[in-house]
């Protein structure tokens, strides 16, 4: 029935990874757009002191940079896990049919 098993396995893995990527992308897009929107529509908010005496503009800006790194690490962690899981399933299936 499933002659092309390995290939399908790979495709589902690709799909899992790209769904994760798209989700994380939208999370970041929203945070980034939030910064731009505050700048354009609620400029005054940017001067409010928030963190250690820093205004919102600085805190948000530095935060966006750090957030990108954090999301990158999260993405890599899950992608690697998905890949390992896919490898394992492949191996068990091979074992099962042998």
């Amino acid at each position: 029935m499933h002659i092309n098993n390995t290939h399908e396995e790979k495709e589902s893995l690709t799909k899992r990874k790209s769904t994760l990527g798209i989700r994380l992308f939208f999370i970041y897009l929203l945070s980034y757009a939030g910064f731009v929107a505050i700048g354009v529509f609620q400029y005054e908010l940017l001067s409010i002191p928030v963190l250690g005496g820093l205004n919102l503009a600085l805190a948000y800006g530095i935060g966006l940079i750090l957030f990108a790194v954090v999301l990158g690490i999260v993405y890599n962690y899950y992608c690697s896990r998905y890949e390992d899981e896919a490898d394992q399933t492949e191996e068990t299936q091979k074992g099962g049919t042998a």
């Binding site: 990527g21 992308f25 897009l29 400029y43 250690g52 205004n55 990108a68 790194v69 990158g72 690490i73």
Partner: protein
Amino acid sequence: MIYDISYTALFFFFVFVGLVIGLSFYFGRKTSSSSSYYAAGGNIHWAVNGIAFAGDYLSAASFLGICGMIAVSGFDGFLYAIGFLAGWIVALFLIAEPFKRLGKFTFTDALNAKFNSRAITLSASVSTLIVSVFYLIPQMVGAGDLVMPLLGLPHWAGVILVGTIVIIIVASAGMASTTYVQFLKGGLLIILSVVLTVYILKNGLTLTPDSKGEKYHSFMELTPQVADGKVTDVAGWEIIGQQVVGKKTFVKLAQDGVDRWFDFTQANNKPILKETLTVTQTADGNQLYNGEAREKRRFYQVGHMSKILVNGEEVDKTGPLGPFEFLSTLQESEIVRFLQVKFTDGPDQVSLYYPQVTAGETFMLPGLKYKIGRDSNLWSKLDFISLMLALFLGTAALPHILIRYYTVKTPRDARKSTILAIAAIGGFYILTLFMGLGAAVNGVLDVESSNMAAPLLARAFGAALFSIISAVAFATVLGTVAGLIVASSGAIAHDFIDVYLKKNLSDHKKVKAGKIAAFAVGIFAILLGMAFKGINVSFLVGWAFAIAASANLPAILFLLFWKRTSETGIAASIIVGIVASLTIILTSPTMWGRYGLDPANAIHQLENPALISFPLAVLTVYLVSILYPKRQKDATLVTS
């Protein structure tokens, strides 16, 4: 600005350039096939590639441009750092892995992997070429700025120097060398920025930013006699004339036969004349700095604070500060910026830089360059959105960045490279904030070009640091220019001649064609570098990002995420993206200024095109794909 040659800097400079060229020749001997010329044979370790990614990306725009713009316009320069980094998110989450699975050598190959369409080949290679050229301009401008204080050479000489060295590197080696050179340089740039930041924080803030061996110029303030808004008498000076420029009034005074300009303003409700800096282009072709010949050295570096407040108390200096303290103290204090106006004085052209006290609070908010708060209008707000959009979407669409996805073996490695790059670049960008602000208050700015803020700041802390940083910055430009020239020579030799014209070149001829193309692009870049002297390099890179985002990104995204995307749709979207963004750039206020016209009279007031050209390209790929669907080959396969 007037600079002395620094021999220490010169020594390090030659050692570094020698090292770069030596490495290139070393790897060049290993390069024989076309695959190793273009993509280093797919054999590079992910960690090396990650730092090389960072090296590629941290070009003149990041180190010279962002620091410079922060030094001059405060937070607005940091917007570039935020946007440049955010762009990596698009690259990592949406493009990196699917792209790796698709392609071979170039961006064009990847776009065309499913279609094999000649229209895509042609439009994508044109787009690669145009984006690379626009990215090359700021690198060359930055190179020219760098060699001025380093070697005491004029701007054009620096541009030619970089162009020549890069042509030699690329023609002799290709991509393999640039990856390792970028790795070395990316790593060094980050380390040196940390060192510079430590210096800045250790130094703290002071009202008298004297640098090593050189006292900061103390700017004169004169008290005039005034009648009916006119200066009638100034003790010790002869009054020559008075000129109104916009809302400002400047007074020309003479002492010992030297003409100087003063800013006529009010302080504590009393009239006052503040010393300004001027560069006068006289009718007989001479250039006077503060009314005297260059050699007299009466022109000064600027950048100081007029008031430092620590916990509500005024102090003369703070001593060492922590990173948060540094930022928050600046926020509460007052910074003096020098703003430029241009006017004619009889037959002479005058560029005048006058001091403007700016509250730290304002300096640390967006709005000094991109007006979104006070003094904003619809155009300026649209311009801000457009810039942020271009920076966000541009990174993933830069051909010389994409080409690195092919230099590692697996998608897993490409991902790890990218994350390492994001971390390295992000860390560096946070440092640019300190380096830029440090330059703003340490009396090191050259009013004629903001691009040298970071290296000149290093000079204030010692010749050795300055020389090493300049050498690394120079290598930065070399590496980036080399990468760009490889990408554009690939577009011409591989995509256009080999694939589009179907010349079926032999491996040997393909490399030869690439080298000839590299030579041609190099010469072109040199000419453009001279033409755009004096513009902030980050600003120029903003354009390259906008063109890349408009021309390439809609095509890539639709190809990856929408099954009905057709080859005609892709080609049309690339063309529309290029034409729209180029048209808006070439009619922008900045270009108007370059043409010698008044920027205020430009056709529109939008400096960055992405807000219009990106949606237009998206619409094009969608509509054209529906109107001209792809050939039915796939559909018949599915139904059978």
